[in-house]
């Protein structure tokens, strides 16, 4: 019996049993569910009818007090009986209503016997309960199932009837259906099982069996057509891999065999070729080649080149020993041959003798070879006679260069790859303060071992030059005591003729002094930059072509633009420079190198209006002429000056107006005053007899007051005249002026002791002679009037002083009078201000010094005084001071 049959037989009863149990369980469950469902539906329909229909109608009547009104009750009950037809029923069920006598009052559709139903209901005590009652009874049609609910208000029993036949019919239908389905399941399941088993199991196994047979027969098996993801699929994949592995193993074996055969064949051919090649190479080579037996020292073989070089025939060579051509003693030759045989050395320098007796310098490369189980020395001979001559020449050349190195002040050192000092010139020896023996042949570790960091640094530099084979420039700073020593070094590779670097040379020098100088220059530059930056003056520097290359912070503020915009400008292109003549001056400075100071008003390119005081100078930088422009913003000063000018002008105008007023006022006042004075005179003359003594005295007083008033008006008129009239300038000899005054006033002081002193002749000056006469007159008469000394001294003189590079002449009139208290020294120049009572010290209008001051100021001078009480007063004044400016 085959495997699938066995499995099928095992599974079949299990499936049948399972379906049987499921069918039985299904029938049982379905029957119960049908009964419960039917009962649930009956209950729901009964509750719905009673609660929603009957009670609704009844409550409507009761709420409106109509439950006792027969016509209403009857109508509403009729309505309820009609409503019963609308109740939804199942399984041909019937709903009917029994009254209290058991009569059916609704439409009767049931085939059962209602009396039996009623009896059954009577027998049940649940009637009086407001709940659904379930039960059954036998009727002529069979068993009837019912459910009922009692409606107390109308004493109705609502019954829902269903024939049990209907339910049983349903149950039978379900049972038969279940059995049919079960049988179909068994048959169908078996068939499906059979085909599935065959498809999933039997067929793949059979296929695998055939594949296994093919593998055994070493047939090609590429893919096994079983692609299921189960154990059979895995088995198929394994078998595929196994077949593939066997196939590859066979292929490898075949390849190896073929490869070995090829290898043997090639090696044989190579050996034959090699032997021929070496023979050809030996015979045809231009280099001299010899084969020497180290034991017998006989020359075993020699190529044609050797024969030609030495001048022997091949047969003659085979009879020669090495000692026949090498000039060394025999023991030395044996020793060198032993060295070559043992490969201690492979390069040798000998002097060989040719057949014609000539001695040649040769370089021999010799080494052992085995030939026909015999050890021979294979030697290649080079004639180096010419090279020797060149080397000698080079040695001489080297000596010359050494002399140069020795004479230079720069230090020169040479290291080999192991940092050994190969060479040190005298300057280097002197620099470290030692002898050549202490350096040359020593290692860098000996010389710089005490400063390991520095030593490793230099080792690294030497390594770098060896690796890169290029020069390297470095600077070092070594602390020596409290100072630093700076060196600058250049490391260069020193190469053999073949181009191989065998040493590194360094040339270094002490640059400490140069470094310190550079440091000082840097510091100076830094200081200069700080000064420029901190300056409140705008500093600009322009190059030869007028391009701005420097502008300090003050410059940016003055111009009103950021630094980057200023340095982007070329002054030759600036309109502001052209218009303000700054460009013209700058070009002149650049041309003649003379410094210039100018004040210009300009509007900068960046829109700022300003007055600038500019200093332009030329200076050299990096060999080229540059323009230095230092700018001071004097806009504010100019503004103040302008305001001052306006104020001065206004003041002059105001003074002039005042003078005009004083003149007009005094002139107009004088006329009536004269009239009064004349009329007083007329009264005194014509009516003298009519006035008594007091009256005449009053008239005299009035006359006196008029005179006094007239004097005041005259003074005022004089003062105003001084301000108004034009000065008549001319050269005036002050000596004459003073003399005239002295002559004029002497009679007035004839009874007094007066002394005039003029220490030196007074100068001739350009002034208004009349007005200056008034000045001296007033000052001299004041000096005499306000003087209580017995001898009244008046000194008139001058001094010349240099003030702000200008010559100023200061005149003075000194007296030995009563002096003027300091607090009154300003007051005395005020008009009509007197320091004493009217008639003391000779009286006066009190306008004299005011007029003096006015005259001096009109001559652009000034007046001041120094006074000591009781000692006297000195009046100083200048003339043309303002003009001198």
């Amino acid at each position: 019996m085959r495997l699938q049959t066995k499995i099928g037989l095992i599974l079949l009863p299990l499936i049948a049993l399972g379906i049987l149990v499921l069918g039985a369980w299904s029938i049982k469950t379905t029957t119960d569910s049908i009964k419960k469902s039917v009962q649930g539906h009956m209950r729901q329909e009964l509750d719905d009818f009673v609660d929603h229909t009957l009670y609704s109608l009844y409550n409507l009547l009761k709420e409106n007090g109509l439950d006792q009104i027969g016509s209403f009750v009857k109508t509403y009950q009729h309505q309820a009986l009609e409503e019963i037809q609308n109740v939804h029923r199942i399984m041909n069920g019937d709903m009917l209503i029994l009254d209290e006598t058991g009569s059916i009052i609704s439409t009767k559709n049931t085939q059962g016997d209602p009396s039996k139903l009623w009896e059954d209901l009577i027998n049940r005590s649940e009637l009086n309960k407001n709940d659904v009652v379930f039960g059954d009874f036998d009727s002529s049609e069979g068993k009837e199932i019912y459910s009922s609910r009692y409606f107390a208000p109308w004493k109705w029993t609502v019954v829902y009837l269903i024939s049990s036949k209907e339910i049983n019919r349903t149950e039978v239908k379900i049972r038969n259906t279940t059995i049919g389905v079960a049988v179909l399941c068994i048959v169908g399941g078996f068939v499906i099982l059979f085909f599935l088993f065959k498809f999933f199991f039997v067929r793949p196994v059979s296929y695998l069996k055939e594949v296994a047979r093919d593998i055994t027969d070493l047939k090609d098996v590429d893919k096994i057509n079983i692609r299921t993801k189960d154990e059979l699929g895995d088995l198929a994949r394994r078998m595929e891999m196994m077949a593939q592995s066997i196939k590859e193993s066979q292929k490898k074996q075949r390849n190896w065999r073929r490869h070995l055969e090829e290898e043997i064949k090639n090696r044989t051919a190579e050996l034959q070729s090699s032997e021929e090649r070496y023979r050809t190479m030996f015979n045809n080579n231009h280099a001299v080649m010899l084969l020497i037996d180290p034991e017998t020292e006989f020359i075993e073989d020699a190529n044609p080149a050797a024969c030609e070089y030495y001048g022997y025939t091949y047969d003659e060579f085979l009879k020669l020993k090495v000692s026949d051509i090498n000039t060394l003693p025999r023991e030395h030759i044996a020793e060198e041959m032993e060295n070559a045989r043992l490969m201690k050395r492979k390069q040798f320098y000998f002097k060989h003798r040719l057949a014609n007796g000539e001695i040649r310098d040769v370089e021999v490369y010799s080494g052992p070879i085995t030939f026909s189980n015999k050890e021979l020395l294979f030697s290649i001979v080079h004639d180096i006679t010419a090279r020797k001559i060149v080397e000698d020449s080079l040695k001489k050349s080297e000596s010359r260069f050494k002399a140069i190195f020795e004479s230079t002040t720069d230090c020169v050192l040479v290291w080999d790859k192991d940092y050994n000092y190969l060479y040190a010139n005298q300057a280097a020896i002197d620099y470290v303060g030692t002898t050549r023996d202490m350096v040359v042949g020593k290692n860098m570790r000996d010389g710089l071992g005490h400063i390991p960091d520095f030593m490793h640094l230099w080792m690294k530099r030497v390594d770098t030059v060896f690796e890169t084979e290029t020069s390297l420039r470095v600077e070092d700073a070594l602390q020596v005591g409290d100072k630093f020593a700076y060196t600058e070094s250049v490391l260069s590779p020193i190469k053999k003729a073949q181009g191989e670097t065998f040493a590194v040379g360094v040339v270094y020098r002490d640059v400490t002094e140069r470094k310190e100088m550079a440091q000082q220059i840097n510091e100076a530059n830094e200081l200069k930059e700080k000064m420029i930056s901190a300056s409140s003056l705008g500093i600009f520097v322009y190059d030869e072509i007028g391009q701005c290359i420097l502008a300090n912070e003050a410059a940016t503020k003055i111009v009103g633009a950021p630094h980057n915009k200023i340095v982007a400008q070329n002054c030759n292109e600036l309109e502001s420079w052209k218009k303000s003549r700054l460009l013209e001056n700058a070009r002149a400075v650049m041309a003649d190198g003379k410094e210039r100071n100018i004040e210009v008003y300009t509007k900068t390119t960046f829109g700022r209006d300003l007055w600038m005081k500019c200093n332009l100078a030329r200076f050299k930088m990096t060999g080229k002429n540059h323009l230095l422009l230092i700018v001071d913003d004097i806009s504010e000063r100019k503004k103040l000056e302008k305001e001052l000018q306006i104020m001065n002008f206004e003041l002059v105008q105001s003074n002039k107006e005042l003078d005009d007023f004083a003149y007009i006022a005094s002139h107009d006042l004088r006329e009536p005053l004269r009239g009064i004075s004349n009329y007083i005179s007329f009264i005194k003359e014509d009516y003298a007899e009519k006035f008594d003594k007091d009256g005449m005295e009053l008239l005299n007083t009035l006359k006196k007051l008029c005179r006094r008033e007239e004097g005041l008006i005259d003074s005022l008129l004089e003062y105003s005249r001084v301000g108004r009239t034009e000065l008549a300038y001319g050269n005036v000899d002050l000596n004459e002026v003073v003399e005239d005054i002295v002559d004029a006033i002497k009679p007035s002081f004839i009874d007094q002791n007066i002394r005039f002193e003029i220490p030196e002749p007074l100068p001739v000056i350009n002034c208004d002679s009349v007005r200056i006469n008034e000045v001296f007159y007033n000052l001299i008469t004041n000096g005499l009037k306000y003087n209580d000394k017995k001898e009244k001294l008046i000194e008139i003189g001058f001094s010349e002083n240099i003030v702000k590079k200008r010559k100023i002449t200061i005149f003075y009139v000194r007296d030995n009078g009563i002096g003027i208290p300091e607090k009154h020294q300003e007051r005395i120049f005020k008009i009509f201000k007197r320091l004493h009572v009217r008639d003391k010290y000779g009286g006066g209008s009190g306008a004299g010094l005011t007029i003096v001051k006015k005259i001096v100021e009109r001559h652009n001078g000034r007046i001041w005084l120094k006074s000591d009480i009781g000692q006297g007063t000195t009046f100083y004044f200048t003339l043309q001071e303002a003009n001198n400016e």
Binding site: S56, N64, G65, L66, S71, F72, T75
Partner: protein, 352 residues
């Protein structure tokens, strides 16, 4: 519904008072302005209960929709007391003060007055409490868009429905057919329309006949006594010619005194009352559209128009709910059983 009446009356009272305080008693001419303050006229035909209740529910619903008097709406209430020419004058006078955004009319006469005054303008008119808008000349058809500036809520249940309802109750109580129904009405337009339609419906049935008595319409309330005297004459004139009474639409039917007059002066029962109060007093049945529903739905129409809706596209239909009242005492007297469905529909409006 009755519970809601009191607060509604109070609201109406406050509304009127505020209006009076703000604009009338201080003698200040109201300043109507603002795009955001919309002006509305509410024209009430006369102060009878059905009109006032409609207005109350309308205002109540407007308030619930967010329209606050003085804030975003200015409702000017015009009460011409049943005088159409006065109504027209009042509308014109208010128009002179400021053009309204729309006019709401309460009852037929107000709607007709507004229609006349606003003819030629595009000011929308929304009517309510109009039982026969077609007869009144306001619209051409009920149930189709008007394509004019007028729309509203029809205060009417079809006459056929009402006759069917009455006949369902009294059919068995009267053996002799046709049953004669007395109909005393004024010359008020809606009353005329009412009897016309009732007669048309009765003719189709054949088992019922309306016998009308028309009396001249007098302005309410001052004309009420005169109309009642005329009505009494009508009762006396028709007493022997009719089996039952039917109250008319219009001002006369709205009067409680008229119902009392019918009940007291006649042996014949009143089978259809115009107002719910009629059923309470003794009319067998009252069947009208719900006043609450009518007032609220009118407010919703107004809301739609205020938001830019076209009144010409709004279909004039009756409100969705009805008021049904039944008097059981009358039913028992007439030996009539009220079917359960009618009794249920009456709900709380069952009177004894």
């Amino acid at each position: 519904m009755f519970k809601n009446i009191k607060p509604l009356k109070m609201r109406r009272f406050i509304f009127y008072k505020l209006f009076a305080i703000l604009f009338i008693s201080l003698g200040i001419t109201p300043v109507f302005a603002g795009d955001d303050m919309k002006r509305i006229f509410l024209v009430e035909t006369m102060p009878v209960p059905v009109v006032l209740k409609h207005s109350d529910w309308f205002l109540y619903q407007m308030n619930e929709l967010g329209y606050l008097q003085g804030e975003n709406i200015d409702i000017v209430i015009l009460t011409p007391n049943g005088d159409r020419s006065k109504a027209e004058e009042m509308i014109k006078a208010e128009m002179a003060k400021g053009k309204p955004y729309l006019v709401v009319t309460n009852a037929t006469m107000a709607a007709q007055a507004a229609q006349k005054v606003l003819a030629g303008t595009n000011i929308p008119i929304v009517f309510m409490t109009v039982s026969d808008p077609v007869g009144a000349g306001l619209i051409e058809n009920i149930g189709t868009p008007t394509s004019t500036n007028i729309t509203g809520k029809v205060h009417m249940i079809s006459r056929e429905t009402r006759i069917n309802m009455v006949m369902r109750l009294i059919d068995n109580a009267y053996v002799i057919k046709p049953i004669r129904i007395g109909f005393i009405h004024s010359s008020y337009p809606s009353s005329i329309g009412d009897i016309r339609q009732l007669k048309e419906a009765a003719e189709e049935r054949g088992d019922v006949e309306f016998i009308a008595y028309e009396l001249p319409y007098q302005k309410v309330p001052e004309g009420t006594p005169a109309m009642l005297i005329d009505a009494k004459k009508g009762i006396e004139a028709l007493e022997d010619k009719v089996d039952v009474w039917w109250e008319p639409s219009g001002p006369l039917g709205e009067l409680t005194e008229y119902t009392q007059l019918l009940l007291n002066c006649s042996e014949k029962p009143v089978v259809m009352g115009t107002k719910l109060k009629s059923a309470e007093l003794g009319a067998l049945l009252h069947l009208t559209p719900s006043i609450e529903s009518s007032g609220r739905e009118t407010a919703m129409l107004v809301d739609a128009v205020l938001k830019g809706g076209d009144p010409g596209k709004m279909v004039p239909i009756p409100p969705q709910n009805i008021d049904l009242g039944v008097n059981l005492t009358t039913a028992l007297k007439m030996n009539i059983v009220i079917p359960p469905d009618i009794l249920k529909l009456a709900g709380k409006n069952i009177f004894k």
